[in-house]
């Protein structure tokens, strides 16, 4: 999402973006660190608080807008992308952020999400994926792993989960990224990129719910695991990871992305990440490396391509119509049909 607000003369601080409402998440919830990351990033963007609108659905994560000293709507379950679409179309001058959860965005709100993505409405979408329904106290979500035992699945869930990155790519998203609640710097870098992107920017955030799904990402996000379990994507660079960058990603002869030992294949054979490729297949291939956060998982920007924004095109048609027909004249409009007078 682009910086299109007026730059502010005074320097802004985190405080300028923090509301006076007490934060109501469980102690230890991953939501806190996302909030911090966003509040710390905001002043850097050089846009005054009044030019942001945070729109959320319903869920623990969706309380987020209350804590931002910006404009905000805590809407209804799953519908945030539609409200955000209305705001963005009405006011291309604003910066619209959508805050949503794995239930909010992918269960009840799945349709609005995929349509916002294909339309490329200018909004930054942060999906707090804790693989659980937090607010309703612990049912499995569309990202929960198969067999998960929860209140609503005492014998294990049967629903094959979505891979949010794959889904977004299948829905023609122009910007797709993933980050996690354990690394504020990484979050900020990704959020900033998302904000700068013209169009809908989709960011999946792995977020720990320490009350109902504690440790869901432990296998990849513990300090100790991160080097060998997180595959950081950098545009234009060969994809490498591991404590000593000893591992990498390469395409095998079938064209599938696979994990390799760099020593075995040679650095040349590594896949060079390309965010800007028109064809989303590469990004899709990377998204399939990890269906669940238990194996090496790519984080960072999967895809970032340019496409006209929806509201930009709306605006273009309005301007063109005015140029063609002149500004609307009600009398003329009504009188455009045959008119007769009775006196």
């Amino acid at each position: 999402m682009a910086d299109n607000g007026a730059g502010s003369a005074v320097t802004l601080t985190r405080k300028d973006f923090s509301s006076d409402q007490e934060v109501r998440w469980c102690p230890g919830c991953g939501d806190y660190s996302v909030l911090t990351a966003v509040q710390l990033l905001m002043p850097e963007l050089g846009i005054p608080p009044e030019n942001f609108v945070f729109v959320s659905g319903i869920g623990c994560s969706s309380r987020f807008p209350y804590y931002m000293n910006t404009y905000g709507i805590h809407s209804i379950h799953g519908r945030a992308p539609s409200l955000a679409t209305g705001i963005a179309i009405a006011r291309p001058d604003l910066n619209v952020w959508v805050i949503t959860g794995d239930g909010d965005a992918l269960s009840i709100g799945g349709n609005h999400l995929i349509h916002a993505l294909r339309r490329n409405v200018n909004m930054t979408i942060l999906l707090f994926n804790n693989q659980i329904y937090g607010l309703t106290k612990g049912q499995y979500s569309p990202t929960s792993e198969l067999g998960k035992v929860t209140k609503s699945s005492p014998f294990g869930s049967l629903d094959y989960p979505f891979n949010p990155v794959s889904l977004a790519l299948g829905a023609e998203a122009s910007f797709v990224a993933r980050t996690h609640d354990m690394d504020r710097k990484h979050m900020q870098a990704v959020f900033k990129r998302a904000h700068e992107h013209q169009g809908s920017a989709f960011v999946e955030i792995y977020q720990n719910c320490n009350v109902f799904n504690d440790g869901a990402f432990e296998q990849i996000l513990s300090k100790e695991a991160r080097p060998r379990m997180l595959i950081e994507l950098h545009h234009g660079e060969p994809i490498r990871f591991g404590a000593d960058h000893e591992l990498g990603v390469a395409l095998n002869e079938k064209g599938e992305a696979t994990i390799v030992n760099v020593a075995d294949v040679g650095e040349d054979k590594l896949l060079v990440h390309d965010e800007h490729r028109d064809d989303p297949t590469l990004a899709f291939a990377l998204s399939r490396l990890a269906d669940q956060p238990t194996v090496p998982t790519p984080v960072g920007v999967f895809r970032d391509v340019h496409r006209p924004t929806y509201e930009g095109e709306v605006q273009r048609q309005l301007v063109a119509a005015q140029e063609r027909q002149g500004p609307g004249d009600l009398k003329e409009l009504i009188g455009a049909a045959p008119v007769w007078e009775v006196s």
């Binding site: 809407s75 609307g328 409009l333």
Partner: protein, 621 residues
């Protein structure tokens, strides 16, 4: 045919004060098209008129079957009329199915023009006729004119170069030509229209023109018809007129209201019959700054409109019954956010998918109560096609002034029906704008729910306004601050405030007017599109020497403040409704008045005669 030859006829026309004509044919026969032409030319000619299109829900139901019949009824008169007419004086039947489907609506003595070419074995069978009704006495009670329209069309179109299969499709213009002659319609505008509309396809244009002229000349030359008829221009109240359908009037009303509210329209909608034409119409007017968004579904459409309103636009969404169901939750949110919003419900036959192309008034209680929790909102209804303009304007006025979603009810009959519209002087339209909040309003803070003491509306502070940053949401909030709040007393306060805000609209709307006669004991109370048939029925009852009063509601919630007093004046109250008695239930609950329902749930408007009979029964009984 020159312009001169077209407006005179060699035989003297007989003057009529009114006539009801029904064009009926197969869905593919273009009946709506010729109906529209006849209507437009009659409107410009100066008749008063009303129309009733009627077509199947299928895009194209099986050709030749009863299910596939499409008809268009138009009532023209030299005085102000109120309905499309109870009984057609003339039925144009393009095939056996069209005859069969419409015959039972005629009275003995009505005229029928049949396209004899279509009355062959296969078509008769498809229509379920064992024998040819033209020949077997079925039509004995009627004046029947048999015209081989198809073959005459083919003959006429020969020169156009169109292949017979294509040329045959011009037969609706033959029929139009014939009827234009019969009722002495000006021909030039029709010819022009054909020329323009089919400008891109010479062959089709020429075939249609040739068919039209052939029909006209057939009337003139054939011995079939004694003489043409004439319906003079009506003496309507002075003013500028144009013909308009309900959906177009509604679209114009939104544009006008938005202009007077100094807000851009942000219209989000998901297509649905019979509301889609509002989207189609509005999407043409981008030069007014109207943004139209075809959403992925009705819920998204409501959400987009809410977002638009939050951002300082006039959020509007329109749909029909199934879509209203779906939008319920979002409308509840708008109500809780206390933002302006207009939801248009173009009612159609229900429940469920029901009768998508037919009219009904059965969503009134849904509009009142179709959201969980105590969730009241103002409701406005249009009563004729052209008053869709006024109703839209009024809905916007209330929405903006009180910061509330408003439901605007119309129906399939209003949406597609047309009538002459004495349109308002644009410059005289009221200013209905409201200022956005720009300043802190409470001890150095901005309180988003600090209400206007008169209207109880909250400040509308739009994003981009420095210092007024605030968050709103669907959770209960503290009055004043707008902060999330679960306090029991605050909740009750808010529930009552939201109700009080809607109730206050009553002081801001005109009292209901009663078309009264001294001594009337029966009041007919109506709302929405029953206006025409009720008014016509009342005229007839009075013509019969009885006294009756009529009151018609534009505001369904809140009711006009004098309604209780008006109802109390009469011994009996009759409520004709195209439902099982919905307004009736509201009135009974509110005023404990024994309002009686006259119900018709057939997907069709009332006939004046039906209401007349009931009124007479109540007066005499």
């Amino acid at each position: 045919m020159t312009a001169e030859t077209t407006t005179t006829s060699s035989r003297r026309p007989e003057a009529l004060d009114r006539v009801v004509i029904r064009f009926a044919g197969d869905s593919g026969d273009g009946m709506q098209l010729v109906g529209d032409r006849f209507t437009d030319v009659s409107a410009t000619f100066g008749n008063d008129l009303a129309t009733l299109p009627n077509y199947p829900a299928e895009i194209r139901a099986p050709a030749g079957t009863i299910a596939g019949v499409s008809s268009f009824q138009v009532h023209i008169a030299d005085f102000d009329i109120l309905t499309p007419g109870d009984v057609p004086n003339l039925l144009v039947a393009m095939n056996p199915a069209a005859l069969k489907a419409n015959l039972h609506d005629l009275s003995p003595g009505s005229s029928i023009i049949v396209n004899t070419d279509a009355f062959e074995a296969r078509n008769l069978e498809k229509a379920g006729y064992a024998a040819n009704p033209i020949e077997d006495g079925t039509l004995a009670a009627f004046r029947v004119y048999t015209v081989p329209m198809t073959s005459m069309t083919l003959e006429a179109a020969k020169e156009s170069g169109a292949k017979p299969r294509d040329a045959e499709r011009s037969k609706n213009f033959f029929a139009l030509g014939l009827i234009a002659w019969m009722y002495t319609r000006p021909v030039a505008p029709i010819v022009e229209w054909i020329q323009e509309r089919f400008a891109k396809n010479d062959m089709v244009r020429n075939a249609n023109l040739a068919a039209f002229k052939a029909g006209y000349h057939f009337g003139e030359t054939a011995e079939l018809f004694d003489h043409p008829y004439e319906v003079q221009a009506a003496q309507l109240p002075p003013g500028k007129y144009r013909n308009i359908s309900g959906n177009v009037a509604l679209a114009y009303g939104l544009i006008a209201a938005a202009q007077q509210a100094k807000l851009p329209v942000l219209y989000a909608s998901y297509p649905i019959t019979p509301a889609s034409d509002i989207l189609h119409e509005l999407s043409k007017h981008k030069n007014f700054g109207v943004r139209t968004i075809q959403a992925e579904d009705e819920i998204a459409a409501a959400g987009i409109a809410i977002g638009g309103s939050f951002a300082g636009h006039l959020g509007v969404t329109a749909t029909s019954g199934p879509g209203v169901d779906l939008k319920s939750e979002a409308i509840g949110l708008a109500l809780s956010l206390e933002l302006p919003l207009v939801l248009v419900d173009v009612q159609r036959g229900g429940p469920s998918t029901g009768l998508p192309t037919k009219t009904e008034q059965a969503d009134l209680l849904l509009a009142m109560y179709g959201r969980h929790g105590e969730a009241p909102l103002p409701i406005v209804a249009a009563s004729t096609p052209s008053t869709c303009f006024d109703a839209a304007f009024e809905a916007v006025r209330i929405a903006v002034k009180y910061r509330t979603p408003v439901i605007l009810l119309t129906d399939g009959y209003l949406a597609n029906g047309a009538e002459p519209w004495r349109f308002p002087e644009i410059d005289a339209l009221a200013d209905i704008s409201t200022p956005f909040a720009t300043e802190l309003n409470h001890e150095g803070e901005f309180w988003p729910y600090l209400r206007d003491p008169e209207t109880l509306a909250r400040p509308w502070a739009i994003p981009g306004t420095p210092k007024l940053m605030h968050r709103v949401g669907g959770l209960e909030k503290q009055d004043g601050t707008g902060n999330v709040n679960y306090d029991p007393d605050n909740h009750e306060l808010m529930v009552k405030l939201r109700a009080a805000k809607v109730a206050r609209v009553a002081a801001d709307i005109p009292p209901v007017e009663v078309d009264d006669e001294v001594g009337a004991t029966v009041l007919v109370l109506g709302w929405g599109s029953t206006w025409g048939p009720i008014k016509a029925a009342v005229r007839r009852v009075r013509g019969g020497g009885r006294k009756v009063a009529h009151a018609h509601l534009t505001h369904l919630n809140p009711f006009p403040s004098n309604l209780g007093e008006v109802l109390a004046r009469y011994d009996k109250v009759l409520v004709p409704e195209m439902n099982l008695g919905q307004l009736s239930r509201l009135v009974r609950a509110e005023y404990l008045v024994d309002a009686q329902t006259l119900s018709k749930v057939q997907g069709l408007p009332f006939r004046a005669a039906e209401i007349e009979a009931k009124i007479v029964e109540m007066i005499d009984g």
